[in-house]
């Protein structure tokens, strides 16, 4: 990894990372070999490498939120999950399936969805290898 590339990756923000995920070019960073999701919190001498995000991950914990954050008032109830992609774990909302049916062990693909409340982008997950529509 060149110094130039590290400098460039240092400036990758969460919006840039969502752009890539939305373009089916999801990735994570290795900061001195430690996997992380942008924005990367690294020291001044750390090196950064870009690695492709695995195409599927596994739900390791989930909850259906009935009393929402006000920014998601029109989305409730919604299922939030922690999804293990191997090197990194992501936090997002699972759609394309009944929230109450989301369970640990469910295999999902990452996506970018928009809040029904304020249209802001966020990490989404849909069940893997199935034709599902993001609501």
């Amino acid at each position: 990894m060149s110094v130039e590339a590290t400098t460039e990756l240092r400036d990758v923000g969460h919006g840039d990372w969502l752009d890539a995920l939305e373009a089916d070019d999801g990735f994570y960073l290795l900061a001195d070999g430690e996997p992380t999701v942008p924005p990367a919190a690294v020291g001044p001498s750390s090196t950064l490498e870009r690695e492709p995000l695995p195409e599927t991950g596994t739900v390791t914990a989930t909850t259906t939120i009935h009393v929402p954050h006000p920014d998601f008032a029109d989305d409730a109830p919604y299922a939030v999950a922690l999804v293990d992609f191997g090197p990194v774990t992501l936090t997002g909302q699972v759609t394309g399936v009944d929230p109450e049916a989301v369970e640990r062990g469910l295999e999902v693909e990452p996506t970018v969805r928009r809040s029904a409340t304020d249209d802001e982008r966020l990490v989404g997950f849909v069940p893997a290898a199935e034709e599902v529509s993001d609501r």
């Binding site: 969460h14 914990a61 909850t63 939120i65 009935h66 009393v67 954050h69 922690l82 640990r104 966020l122």
Partner: protein, 390 residues
């Protein structure tokens, strides 16, 4: 390690105080603490003050000088401490460190929060400021949601049930029933918990602490000052530990353990030269029922997975071997965020010196531990409190 003595403690009733400002609430707590300590406010060297929601609740940051007003002159240092729900515990930790350093001898430590004036939606949004704004709140995670994720992981790993969690709520409501300072003084049963509306599954309304207004304060002094003034402090802080973990749950290796609290407990026990087995009672950060189990395991009072049945088996109830949250805990006494860590010190001191209405449950207790957690335990403070002369 230098002992830090608790010269006096005080707190407001916890609950709804719609007509009282934050400064009025804290004034009551600090007056009680100073009066009971018999320490003159002109001797105060410093105030360490915990507060989290002030900017939203009262459009007031920079509360430390406000809360020190009228106490003493310009030599008094006043500092606000903010570590989310552990703000109060860290204010205590900073006070202990300052006295141990020899820089100061007399410290007022306190905390205050106003919350009920915000209502549920604004409180939910403001408490979420303690989570990772990018990775968690941006995905719609609320605090009940974050603890719902922790509960999901814990119950799965240890084959425990929502009913196990319900027993924690039942126990802490029973303790609060006889504590006049507590917000919820009604006993509940397991069915009440299991049938309550879901907030973030598996957690329901009765798994969660209430939204609370309140303030707490304590006067801490050095042994030299106590001797010179002929004070007779009832308790000493003999251990003060802190720990840190990743802010976002997605950056943790194991969702069923709280490593910040484990680290804080290790430090506190080492300083106090005690083992978990020496602990007679504990006040722990049960913002949700699941949090009490995580706390008891981080404190080494139970092995991983074994705290699940502690309340159900009567081990941590008032008549159990290790009473936990005799005050009613955050769950039923209430959780005015910035005050909570100091309130734990207030309650433990009164339980050890026999002046607490629930002290009859622990007549022979000499050693208590207080566990205060920030967010999903990304920060934690643990304090060991021992009866003086025991």
């Amino acid at each position: 390690m230098t002992e830090v003595l608790v010269a006096g403690v005080g707190a407001t009733d916890f609950g709804e105080h719609p007509d009282r400002t934050g400064r009025e609430l804290f004034a009551e707590a600090r007056s009680l603490a100073l009066e009971r300590s018999t320490v003159s406010d002109t001797d105060l060297d410093a105030l360490y003050y915990g507060n989290f929601l002030g900017a939203t609740a009262e459009e007031q940051n920079h509360q430390a000088p406000l809360m020190a007003a009228g106490l003493a002159g310009p030599d008094l240092e006043a500092t606000r401490v903010e570590n989310a729900c552990a703000s109060g515990g860290y204010a205590v930790a900073d006070a202990v460190r300052a006295i141990r350093s020899g820089d100061v001898d007399v410290v007022l430590v306190g905390g205050m929060e106003r919350m009920t004036n915000l209502g549920t939606a604004a409180t939910t949004a403001t408490l979420a400021h303690a989570a990772d704004a990018v990775h968690e709140v941006g995905a719609g995670v609320t605090f009940p949601g974050a603890y719902g994720l922790l509960a999901d992981a814990y119950l799965e790993r240890h084959d425990a049930s929502h009913e196990d969690l319900a027993h924690v709520a039942v126990k802490n409501h029973a303790n609060a029933a006889t504590n006049p300072k507590a917000q919820y003084r009604e006993e509940i049963d397991v069915a009440d918990v299991l049938e309550a509306p879901t907030v973030a599954d598996p957690l329901g309304l009765y798994d969660a602490c209430p939204i609370t207004d309140g303030a707490a304060a304590a006067v801490l002094v050095s042994p030299e000052y106590a001797a010179a003034q002929d004070l007779e402090p009832a308790a000493a802080i003999t251990g003060s530990g802190r720990g840190t973990d990743a802010l976002a749950l997605q950056d943790r290796d194991d969702l069923t353990r709280t490593k910040a609290a484990e680290a804080a407990a290790d430090d506190a026990y080492e300083q106090a030269d005690i083992e978990p087995a020496d602990v007679d009672l504990a006040e722990v950060h049960d913002c949700f029922t699941i949090a009490e189990l995580l706390a008891l395991e981080a404190l080494g009072l139970y092995e991983p997975g074994e705290a699940a049945s502690a309340a159900r088996n009567g081990e941590t109830t008032a008549d159990g071997d290790l009473p936990v949250n005799l005050s009613g805990g955050l769950k039923a006494k209430g959780h005015p965020v910035g005050a909570t860590g100091v309130s734990q010190l207030v309650e433990l001191t009164k339980l050890l010196d026999g002046s607490h209405p629930n002290a009859d449950a622990v007549p022979a207790a000499t050693t208590g531990v207080a566990h205060n957690a920030g967010g999903t335990v990304a920060t934690a403070s643990v304090h060991v409190l021992e009866e003086v002369g025991a």
